[in-house]
Amino acid sequence: MTFEYKVQGGDFTHAGYASSQVKKMLKQLGVDSVVIKRVVVCLYEAEVNIVAHARDGIISIVLDTDTILMKLTDNGPGIANIEQAMQKGYSTASPEVREMGFGAGMGLPNISANADRFLITSEPGTGTALEITINLNSAAV
């Protein structure tokens, strides 16, 4: 099954909608709550990244019995140095974003730690694309 959710840049109020929807589906499938938590952490962090940095973006979810694939593409500023962005605590978030409790520089490292497979591609000036895959059958990270 495939689902698509639009994400509006700057709209922190509505961030988390996709996570809630996906969470409910995984509960319906009887997926272990530890795995659900990993999916939700990845998705929420990635969604907040779009809200914090991009004009808008799209989350597309491909769900089957054993795996969930989450693709997030945005038309934000892109990441010049991905290696640097993957380090814990590194953040380019604006002071306003930080004031709201976001932008601690834990987003990408957190996604990487919780995903079974994580791909990130980015072009400065064009945007960033994430591909996060989580195996729904195992609880181990």
Binding site: M1, G16, S19, S20, K23, K24, M25, K27, Q28, L29, G30, S33, V34, I36, K37, V40, V41, Y44, D64, T65, D66, G101, L136
Partner: protein
């Protein structure tokens, strides 16, 4: 699912229920449906919060209680009374008067539940010091909240603070004191005057405990009425000198919103009301909440002052108790009464009993099937059905929402023809005749709702 496995204190009286569907619309776990003009409960979803009881306009939902005469099965009859009982009466009514009324009804001992909270303070502190436990820890005080987490937020079960409630501590204490004075355990009956249905369910089928020290429950409205009557005919009652609350000021308000949270160290938060709690837990489960160490959650607005079995206004009850706690001076509260020694002198014994040792198990309401492939098929089907349902959540199908109906259908608990919109389009396309459609409508809502009845609420000759 395991039908009958969960004990529920709420029962729908079909002879009274008019099938108005108000309860179905307020249930936080979508546990109610309308069939044959009556509300029906899906037992494994019910968390005993009592929202349905509150919303029922004809009082068709009743809360079971033990037959009062059962107290006389015991030689020693303890009434465990929560502070909110006293909070329902005017300031002039003293705890000794209330206690005297309870004694006149046949109890031999009257003890205030909130004493048990004295034992919980250090027990919660101990848990807060365990660095390996997830944050925030969630109070397990309110049984409806524990059940809500089991049913809707199983991932948060590990956040539940594994300590028992003040009620259990008070009950263990009473039994121990009486045993120390030579009573046999079998001679001791400990009865809880309950403010809500959830506490009844918790006593009758405890979660995370193998047995309970409580022998039975008496509904608070029953006791409230007895006390009110007796106080109006005061002459016949003998009671001792008026004595101040024997409970500490901070534990006195434990059952009110923020009563418990304010006693816990660290960053704490108190949330009351099922909708507020659900909204917060949804965010917590999404990992959107950080920086909270301890969460006090209560199903009812104003905590237990809003319990469904209270007869007085919840805000007045809460204010009376808070006011009492504010005006209590140190020394006013005497934890030791003539019958009962200070509960703290038993803290060694009670601290051994305070932890919940049995596992709290999830009972997800969302899971479609135990088999993943099957669940996937069902989910796909339910989503295909959603393409056709109107999304108006009108409830005419007898389910609380279109999504609930679509899930009922794939669980073989419902049929797509229950949807009035589907039937209407089928009739337009001559796929269904008018008679068939009415027949389905009547099967959901019952024949009574199709006949003139001038006695109903709001009608010409209203009468109950």
């Amino acid at each position: 699912m395991e039908k009958g496995f969960f004990h529920h204190a709420l029962t729908i009286r079909e002879d009274i229920c008019t099938g108005c569907s108000l309860c179905m619309r307020v249930c936080p776990t979508e546990a109610l449906r309308i069939r044959d003009g009556k509300a029906k409960l899906i037992e494994d979803r019910c968390v005993d919060c009592g929202e349905c009881f509150r919303s029922c306009p004809v009082h068709a939902i009743i809360i079971e209680q033990d037959d009062f005469s059962r107290i006389f099965d015991y030689k020693h009859r303890v009434a465990l009374v929560p502070a909110v009982l006293h909070g329902q009466f005017r300031h002039e009514v003293s705890m000794s008067e209330i206690s005297a009324v309870l004694r006149s009804l046949g109890f031999t001992w009257v003890y205030e539940v909130e004493h048990g909270a004295e034992i919980l303070k250090p027990a919660i502190d101990d848990l807060m010091n365990v660095r390996t436990l997830p944050r925030p820890l969630i109070s397990s005080y309110c049984p409806a909240i524990v059940r809500l987490i089991q049913v809707r937020f199983p991932a948060l079960i590990r956040n539940l603070a594994t300590v028992k409630a003040p009620l259990e501590m008070a009950a263990f204490y009473c039994r121990r004191v009486l045993r120390d004075r030579g009573a046999h355990n079998a001679e001791i009956g400990v009865f809880y005057v309950t403010p809500c249905a959830a506490k009844i369910a918790a006593v009758k089928s405890p979660v995370g405990e193998e047995s309970t020290p409580i022998s039975g429950v008496i509904n608070m409205d029953f006791i409230y009425n007895k006390i009110n009557r007796t106080l109006r005919n005061k002459g016949e009652l003998k009671y001792g000198d008026d004595h101040a609350y024997s409970v500490d000021p901070d534990t006195l308000v434990w059952s009110l919103t923020n009563g418990e949270a304010s006693c816990v160290n660290g960053s704490t938060l108190a949330i009351d009301g099922m909708n507020n709690v659900t909204e917060f837990l949804e965010q917590l489960e999404n990992d959107e909440i950080t920086g909270v160490d301890y969460l006090e959650l209560r199903a009812c607005d104003e905590g237990c002052a809003g319990g469904v079995l209270l007869s007085s206004n919840r805000f007045l009850v809460a204010e009376r108790l808070r006011n009492k706690a504010r005006t209590l001076k140190p020394g006013d509260s005497s934890p030791e009464t003539e019958e009962f020694p200070d509960i703290e002198s038993y803290s060694g014994y009670l601290m051994n009993k305070v932890r919940i040792t049995e596992e709290i198990k999830p009972r997800s309401m969302y899971r479609l099937s135990g088999d993943r492939d099957e669940a996937m098929k069902m989910m796909k089907r339910s989503r295909r059905i959603m393409c056709w349902l109107p999304g108006t959540d009108c409830g005419l199908c007898g389910a609380p929402s279109c999504q609930a109906l679509s899930e009922d259908i794939v669980r073989h608990r419902g049929d797509i023809s229950q949807c009035a919109f589907i039937r209407e389009s089928n009739m337009e396309r001559q796929l269904m005749d008018r008679e068939r459609s009415s027949e389905i409508m009547r099967r959901i809502w019952g024949d009574n709702n199709f006949t003139k009845n001038c006695n109903k609420k709001g009608a010409e000759n209203e009468s109950n």
